[in-house]
Symmetry: C2
DNA sequence: TCTTGGTTTGACCAGTTGGTCAAATCAACG
DNA sequence: CGTTGATTTGACCAACTGGTCAAACCAAGA
């Protein structure tokens, strides 16, 4: 049913979402204008509103698409795998996400900075449930002595913080590093950091 | 000269700055309105504009005040002190800054997220200079074998990322942690993390 | 070709925005 | 008290905001 979209509809809807991602991720919801998004999408404002009923609708569509991809890497943490490799793998996957989808990262950052008005219930619901679940796995590993004894929630926070920093604070990171590319050094550092932290 | 300020001027200017901090840190520059700031300051909009010539001026004043306090903790890193204690101390000081001045942290985050249009030159100038300076000190410690051999720039990034995460992503952190207070656990985790990382 | 339904747009609207200004109010000092 | 300069405000403005709508345009099948 939902699949009944013209080629034009597909092209324009995805152009709008891409433009919305570009604009919202930079200025936040209230700081972005429909004219800006329309121009970035190569459409007139009324034409944009022919595909999405409102500014809010574009933003919501983006957030929904984002959350799917955002929670996936943590979900993939495997309780039967090698503990240190599982956590290291998760961190590297998250870093790659920042490298390859920095605008999505900044869209998320903007939403959280503004108090997460649109996704607060998801944070307290799905996200908390999943994090608590994975934290329990990590705690289990710690009790078995497979990894060092650390607080699993703050471990996860540290991974989020460090990896997202390279997308959200990109301009600062590049200003400080000068010409050096950020992500190679970051991946190496990440590896060292968590290997040393987690080795019992 | 600049000190010739009435009691009223002092009170209102600081009320405006506080209100501006509150509003700008939540909605970013473009997402904030003068009416919002004026109301938060308990003034009428024309009255606010009697003390600051424009919205931009309020924002600039806030950023300037912020940058002073923001760069101070890193500046305090002492090359003659005990390496691990110096770095640990810096990290803890930065975490305390997030705890005690979360709005300032979010104001900064908003500015960087939007591409740092107003402070880009400072990032490439003063900030980069100071970070390179401190990075050299840390590299020196590493060469002497006093701390483990890690990339000093990414070490500093990781401290920024982790500590600011608790202010900037406050709503997410609290959603995940539920009732537990964030900062106690964070301080303990921070201590463990960098002690393990830096011990040679 | 004509028709039909999806697509695009110019003109428009009411509400909001940053900012101005002259007039009114207030505080304090002689 | 009266005066003077700082302070406050209501009324106002042009530009911009999200959103509407009828009319025009266009692609494609009959």
């Amino acid at each position: 049913m939902t699949k009944t979209l013209t080629r034009i509809q597909q092209r324009n809807r995805s152009a709008i979402l891409d433009a919305g991602l570009e604009v919202f991720s930079q200025y936040g919801f209230r700081g972005s204008t429909l004219d800006q998004i329309a121009e970035a999408a190569g459409l007139s404002k009324p034409n944009l509103l022919y595909y999405f009923p409102s500014k809010e609708a574009v933003h919501t569509a983006l957030l929904e698409r984002l959350l799917e991809n955002w929670l996936a890497p943590l979900q993939a943490l495997d309780p039967t795998g090698d503990p240190i490799q599982e956590i290291l793998g998760y961190a590297q996957r998250k870093l790659a996400l920042s490298r390859d989808y920095p605008r999505e990262s900044r869209l998320f950052a903007n939403e959280i900075l503004q108090g997460a008005p649109r996704i607060h219930n998801i944070l307290r619901g799905d996200l908390k449930t999943m994090v608590d679940d994975k934290a329990a796995i990590i705690s289990g590993w710690a009790e078995e002595g497979q990894i060092a004894d650390i607080d699993p929630h703050h471990l996860i926070f540290s991974i989020w913080a460090f990896t997202q920093h390279y997308a959200d604070f990109d301009v600062q990171v590049r200003a400080v590093l000068g010409d050096k590319p950020p992500y190679d050094g970051a991946a190496v550092f990440l590896e060292t950091l968590y290997e040393k932290l987690l080795t019992p």
